[in-house]
């Protein structure tokens, strides 16, 4: 069985009782969440609340961590991505990812962007050039690097590297792009460039972003999901903690009229 992309009114991604363990430790529990198509959804919450864990479960990056175990469902195009007949490799080609620290390959700019298309079997030089140019244009990097495509990706500045990583991600034409704190390693100017880029990209792609920066969530996100930590005293001095989804709604509503007191407290900076 494999994935065929579906359009229509259905949600881009639906999380259903998603629970993740690392070895025997519960990381995040019972997340139910619907992600709307061609919108930006932000995951916010204190450290350790499992927001990155949930993000990485969506394109099965957690498969790569020994001891990680996922229960529940991640629905995409009518399929549960954790069904045994779904190939994680195929999942990631539909649901791309941009990481916290820019991680260009130690290759040329061109080869970085062409990496994904080449995996898909595109060998033709003209097509590759076309894809690379379009991807770099779409990530607002083309004008800065067009004369220097042979230069190593590592030679770019931090912000440029992150835009290169975004270009690399969109070169395989994914449906959804996951961004795991994409600006946390960047300066304000580079951050602004990435934010503008996201607002442009969302016209074509569904974007989910994990961020520590609440202003950023307010600036870019249409929807915001607030994750929080639950604690339970097991025995004296031995505490069990796990994350869960506390509240989810339109960004406006979450920031201006949160339903829960804990959300309000987090947003107003009282803890976390």
């Amino acid at each position: 069985m494999s994935i065929t992309r579906e359009a229509g009114p259905a949600w881009a991604i639906e999380l259903n009782k998603l629970t993740v363990y690392y070895n025997d430790k519960l990381a995040v529990r019972d997340v139910d969440l619907k992600i709307e198509r061609q919108k930006i959804t932000a995951f916010i919450g204190p450290s350790g609340c499992g927001k990155s864990t949930v993000l990485r479960s969506i394109n099965r990056m957690n498969d790569l961590i020994p001891g990680a175990r996922v229960t529940g469902r991640v629905m995409y195009s009518g399929k549960n991505l954790y069904d045994t007949d779904i190939d994680a490799v195929e999942v990631r080609r539909h649901i791309g990812m941009v990481f916290q620290k820019p991680n260009p390959f130690p290759k040329s700019i061109f080869d970085n962007v062409a990496y994904g298309p080449r995996l898909l079997g595109i060998r033709d030089g003209k097509t590759l050039k076309q894809i690379v140019e379009q991807s770099l244009r779409a990530s607002f990097l083309w004008d800065e690097v067009k004369d220097d495509l042979k230069k190593s990706g590592l030679a770019l500045s931090g912000g440029q590297q992150q835009r290169l990583c975004i270009a690399r991600a969109i070169a395989v034409q994914p449906d959804v792009i996951l961004m795991d704190e994409p600006c946390s390693a960047l300066d304000p100017i580079a951050t602004q460039a990435i934010e503008e880029l996201m607002l442009e990209l969302v016209r074509q792609y569904t974007i989910i972003i994990v961020t520590h920066n609440m202003q950023q969530a307010q600036r870019v996100a249409d929807y915001t999901a607030f994750f929080n930590i639950r604690k339970e005293q097991e025995t004296a001095g031995n505490e069990r903690r796990w994350g869960l989804l506390a509240e989810h709604g339109a960004t406006e509503q979450i920031f201006n009229a949160p339903k829960l007191e804990e959300t309000e407290r987090y947003i107003s900076g009282e803890f976390g």
Binding site: N59, M61, L64, P66, V89, E90, V91, R92, R93, H94, G96, M97, V98, F99, K101, N103, P104, F105, P106, K107, Y115, G116, L119, L120, C165, R168, A169, V172
Partner: protein
């Protein structure tokens, strides 16, 4: 260290804190000197090697022109002919066979251990492979002669002679395998996780990630492993002394016996040799050659792996 003089006349002198005077601590000074001496032993060793090899080689090259040594193709000490090529070609042959075995297998084993194996599996497999590195080389010589050579004879027929460079080279490859595997594994492990994740995130399979991202990123570390393996093969003595053959032979046939540089040195020292003969001096010239050859390999390897470390800090 400066110290203020104390006013001994004033009445409160004894109550004041004593001045900070640096005390002489003889133990400290002596220990420092002793430890420095220990460090200097290594330099003395190097100087010793260079002096011994250099001086005796100089005596040798007064009798045998350097050009004959480097370019002539006959090694016949009895006839006064000392051309290194028959020995060197045998050394290069065994080294090549050893690398043909150990580089692909060592790299593959390293990839398996670093990229595929579950940590528990890795914890059992790695020490087993390392056992291979702990076996004395003379035992490998025995293995080459009593297992590998008969095996080759069974496969390739009677053209395989009892002593041959192929068997010695293959077994040497097994011996070097754990060295190459372990150095390659270190190089692969040094590739940041983020690069692997970037590749997986683009929908690459595990093998594609290894072949297109991890191995290229670790390439210089792998080259360093290759060079170290090569240096080990060139300097290895016991396997070739037992299994490769006991006479210089200018041949490229892997099934024929041929003596390597180290094999010749070992065979000469076994008998009672006169200390003033040209034969005796020749082992110093060969030793110098070996020393310089492996030194270059080691230096290049260290240089490469230092540069490699700088890339991923």
């Amino acid at each position: 260290m400066s110290s203020r003089t104390l006013d001994l006349v004033s009445p409160g002198a004894q109550l004041r804190p004593r001045p900070m005077i640096r005390r002489l601590r003889p133990t400290e000074t002596i220990m420092r000197a002793v430890l420095l001496a220990c460090g200097v032993v290594s330099i003395a060793t190097t100087i010793g090697i260079v002096l011994v090899l250099g001086l005796e080689s100089l005596a040798f090259f007064r009798e045998v022109p350097l050009t004959d040594f480097l370019f002539s193709t006959t090694w016949q000490p009895r006839l006064g002919q000392f051309g290194i090529w028959p020995l060197l070609s045998a050394t290069l042959m065994t080294t090549t066979f050893a690398l043909l075995v150990s580089v692909p297998l060592g790299l593959a084993a390293a990839i398996y251990l670093s990229e595929y194996a579950h940590p528990r599996t890795r914890a059992t497999l790695k020490p087993v492979l390392e056992l291979l590195a702990g076996i004395p080389t003379v035992v490998y010589g025995f293995f080459a002669l009593t297992f590998m050579t008969p095996l080759l004879q069974a496969i390739f027929g009677p053209q395989v002679q009892v002593y041959n460079t192929f068997s010695a080279g293959l077994v040497m490859g097994i011996m070097i395998l754990p060295t190459i595997a372990s150095m390659s594994e270190d190089a692969l492990n040094a590739v940041p996780r983020a690069l692997r994740e970037a590749s997986y995130g683009l929908g690459a399979t595990r093998f594609e990630t290894i072949a297109k991202v991890v191995v290229p990123a670790a390439f210089s570390g792998l080259v360093a492993a290759f060079l170290i393996g090569m240096a080990r093969a060139v300097g290895e003595t016991m396997i070739v002394a037992l299994a490769a053959g006991a006479g210089p032979n200018m041949t490229l046939n892997p099934f024929e016996p041929a003596q390597t540089i180290t094999g010749y040195i070992a065979s000469i020292s076994g008998g009672d040799i006169s200390y003033d003969s040209l034969d005796y001096q020749s082992i110093f010239a060969l030793g110098l050659f070996l020393f310089l050859f492996t030194l270059v390999l080691n230096l290049v390897s260290q240089w490469i792996s230092r540069r490699f470390r700088e890339v991923y800090q």
